[in-house]
Symmetry: C2
Subunit: 596 residues, 2 copies
């Protein structure tokens, strides 16, 4: 049976010493009062919820899955999920970073983000119920009419009602322009919505008394393609003006998907049979309204893999220290035992450190992004807001794709540490691998993220935002000038940044004659970009660790060693990525016979 | 629902045009009569069995799994498995490459190997029942007494009885020296065996009337460690002299593992409660006897991932041609449709071609190894036998680890081609990923394989065998001298071989002061070695393809394009592997605080 300890020490390090979150909060009037003790007090309680309430339901939820009742279209979540959700609502966790106007606590998203890492370590499938709800909250908060907000947001904020996002149809996932669900106007200003949706996470369940679906559909006169999509609120039960539950709306779960992982979350097929919905935002602007919350949702997916990487690492480390098998190649290390613990073996250490370095790097990057979001939502200076928004737009696809690709690799490594036992459900490792696989697919596949990064976020403004990121690295390199001990980190960091800049130029030039060049290089480019950013943060962490390595707190020695591992064993991946990116388009596209 | 077409065209290409298997068979008196038409006739029938009999049971077997009856220790395989096995026995497939003295057909292992690739594409979990049986056959055939062979081999050859290998115990997998199962002599020359085994594949089932377990155990006076292990035959039912079924032996399945994949195969916990067994081979030499069949078994695991890679590729290719979504970056390719098929996208092609290149490369390497095994078992010239045995010993860990690591990557890529649908069980892709994961673990984890390759097979004879492999490449390079069109393949092939040679020297030198250096570099080295061998075979395939590209058969154009893809997009992985191998031991071992 696996175990989980919230990484509070590292969270404090990242927030206090690396990002100086309290100082950043001070610049945001809405959050100025959140000092580090407040933050940590919340995270300590949040960690307890993750490790004590939902973590114990993770394996049982996977085994049991969700149960669909075809006669009345209801879904039962696995045993204990409903009770855990009740505790979540009772504890006020749903309201953490919601608007006080609707009953929220108004805390920074950065805190919520750190909380969500722990929730995902505890139980990704369960966490998707409140996670999707928060997405619906943000969408309504940004685009709802005052009346809609007044009617729905208080109950969503409290967590009494949950939310979904109904985008995908069987013939369109990435390409939402093809969607067919229809919305016909009713006389009273509402709409009659008909169609079929699939892959609706948390789409039906018994955790909450009502489910607020946000549904993409087409108005009768809508232009074809993605410019003809509108967004609607379609509640499961139509609320009365006093927020009591009214009539059942004909939006039904007609089936659940059988899938590789996240068994505890209901992935619903949803039929809308003339369901009543209300337009959110402007007609035909539904996709734009939905995409407002995409940054947050994509970062949220990165947090899922971050959480899985962390918990898989913790368990693989414990196993490697405990399991004795064979002797070290350099002679017995535990001569009193019949064999050495397997952690003595270099490759076992490599697999463990890979997971650790990716978890700790991912934690920094995603918290940095959360802080940028808090900044662009709250900073009094418009220029600062714009700058933060621009940077988070660049980094979001990296958080989504780089962290989830790393998570797949890392959880698989952690499974491998267990040898044959890793394949056995009881140990819990194989579930982390299975659960992590969805994160590379949903909210835009990682190929789509890579195209977004290279095509839109980098080449789209001729590298302007990328240059700002490069300037951050150069500034830091300057700060480190003359510090001999930092050379081993600064040099490869600058090399990575330079490689990314060179590749950007090369690809950008080649793409002018054929845009497919971008598609051919995008995934390699994503790995280079991710590593460049990680190298920056690992170098920054190394600097603090160097300064405090003799403080008596071994945490800094550990951090320094992990930084050295990262630069020696993970960063060099960019050499292959650069080589393959540079072989260009021909070996992929002149393959009409090979792929016949 | 996935589909599967046996890759007969490529099998013929590899066997006839690339390896010239008929000529090789002619040099082996036992197999001289097997011409290409004979081989293909068998494989065609074998392919039908794989695609028509067991492939349709693959998804249902995964869903249903095996059922354990705790009251009488029996196990029921999934629906249809027993009937398929009966057809297998009836068709004489079990006897294919078995000794005619015991009723076998005496065909070359090379044919059996190609057959097993197709079986594994069809249904890995089912294929493990006959697969393990063949392992037991080989072990008894090599080490049994004439009486043991006469009693057991005819029924194993026919497939009426199946076999297992009972090695692992809960506290020892890799480190069999620690095993505790006891064997005490009975007065009649048999032994009374007591202990508990786990992870016994095909350990109990209803496919055959008897199961012949090969069990590792310790004699009372055995030396400690791996030098005190003996091998025993422990039949489920003790056969009478006339091979009729006798008394039930107290060797019981006490439970089945719940695991990530291969649900259709019974992974049994086995309790030996004073079961009667008979010594096979010499006392205390059990591990050596078991290891005789390890080459074949490890190559067999490579075939499992090869089979999964091929079938996953076929289905991902079909989906990519069928699924329409978005437009090509360089403008519509199917303007008559609402979107382009996703195969127009460069990264989708990259994922597909990765699977294709790994499948076709793996097919060559494993058939080459099978031919080497046929050679060392049957060649009249002792020097040729020794040479073949030496080469297959070098290549075996590469087949096992490189092909299974590639299989994990490739099946995951194929899943990714399906987007969100890849995560859904119905499409079958996620099962290929789950099933493939075990292949990196059993028969020695891939870390163990890498240590075997670098430590034992390469450095163990100071690179002598590796030099012979290098000479093969140099000979081929010489053969291609002056052929301008071959340069693009020969140059990177030689570069890869040279890199491997250089790394071998560097690691060998460094290991003299600290043997842990081998452990630190072994997995990187494995990737370099695998690619060097693949580069050789892809260059050879490219040569034939170049010669025949205008023959009118598009097969050769396809092969040439895939070769170009391999050299452009997969081979460059060695650049990162070389870089990380060269950063050495320190970043892994000086991590006592990081891994505290």
């Amino acid at each position: 049976m696996p175990s989980y300890t919230p990484p509070l020490r590292d969270l404090r390090f990242v927030m206090e010493e690396l990002l100086d979150v309290p100082a950043a909060f001070k610049a945001l009037p809405a959050h100025a009062e959140n000092d580090m003790d407040t933050v940590m007090a919340i995270l300590e309680e949040g960690g307890k919820f993750a490790s004590e309430v939902i973590f114990p339901l993770n394996q049982s939820g996977d085994r049991e899955g969700c149960t669909h009742d075809k006669t009345n279209f209801t879904v039962k979540a696995p045993k204990g999920f409903k009770e855990a959700y009740a505790k979540y609502v009772e504890g006020g966790w749903a309201a953490l970073s919601c608007d006080p106007e609707y009953g929220g606590q108004g805390l920074p998203l950065t805190i919520n983000q750190a909380f969500y890492e722990m929730l995902n370590s505890g139980n990704q499938a369960w966490t998707m119920y409140p996670g999707l709800t928060h997405g619906a909250y943000e969408c309504l908060h940004a685009h709802g009419t005052p009346e809609q907000k007044a009617l729905y947001l208080p109950k969503i904020t409290s967590g009494e009602w949950t939310g979904t996002m109904c985008l995908t149809e069987s013939h369109c996932g990435t390409d939402l322009g093809m969607l067919r669900t229809k919305a016909e106007p009713n006389a009273d200003g509402s709409y009659k919505i008909t169609g079929n949706k699939i892959f609706i996470s948390s789409g039906e369940h018994d955790l909450a008394e009502n489910i607020i679906h946000l549904v993409l559909a087409r108005l009768p006169d809508a232009p074809v393609g993605s410019k003809g999509i509108s967004l609607f609120i379609v509640p499961k039960f139509i609320p009365n003006a006093d927020q009591s539950i009214g009539a059942r709306n004909p939006i039904f779960c007609t089936g659940l998907e059988h899938k590789m992982g996240i068994h505890g979350n209901a992935t619903a097929q949803i039929a809308l049979d003339g369901a009543t919905g209300w337009l959110v935002g402007a007609p035909n602007k539904g996709l734009a309204a939905m995409f407002v919350m995409m940054n947050a949702a994509r970062i949220g997916v990165g947090m899922q893999s971050l959480g899985l990487t962390e918990v898989a690492y913790q368990n693989a480390l414990a196993y490697a220290k405990d399991r004795i098998q064979m002797r070290s190649l350099s002679g017995p290390k535990a001569p009193d035992k019949p064999a050495d613990p397997i952690i003595v073996h270099a490759d076992v250490r490599k697999m463990l450190l890979t997971a650790k370095a990716y978890a700790e790097g991912g934690r920094v990057l995603s918290l940095f992004c959360a802080l940028l979001i808090d900044t662009y939502l709250n900073h009094p200076d418009e220029a600062k807001r714009a700058e933060a928004e621009e940077m988070v737009a660049l980094l979001t696809p990296i958080v989504k794709a780089f962290i989830t690709d790393n998570g797949w690799l890392a959880t698989s490594h952690c499974l491998q540490v267990f040898g044959g036992h890793g394949f056995i459900a009881e140990w819990g490792m194989e579930q982390y691998v299975r659960d992590s696989r969805i994160n590379m697919l949903y909210e835009g596949t990682n190929t789509i993220q890579s195209l977004d990064l290279l095509g839109r976020k980098v080449l789209g403004n001729k590298g302007a935002t990328l240059k700002k990121l490069g300037a951050m690295m150069e500034d830091f390199a300057e700060e480190c000038e003359g510090i001999e001990a930092m050379k081993e980190f600064i040099e490869p960091m600058l090399k990575a940044a330079e490689l990314q800049a060179t590749l950007t130029f090369e690809i950008g030039s080649a793409a002018q004659s054929n845009p497919d060049v971008v598609g051919a290089a995008a995934v390699d480019y994503m790995r280079v970009a991710g590593h460049a950013v990680f190298a920056y943060w690992w170098a920054r962490m190394a600097k603090i660790a160097l300064e405090k390595q003799d403080s008596g707190d071994d945490f800094y020695k550990a951090k320094l060693q992990t930084a050295r591992f990262y630069f020696a064993k993970l960063l060099p991946e960019i050499e292959t990525c650069a080589a393959t990116a540079r072989t260009g388009l021909k070996p992929l596209m002149e393959t009409e016979y090979a792929l016949a």
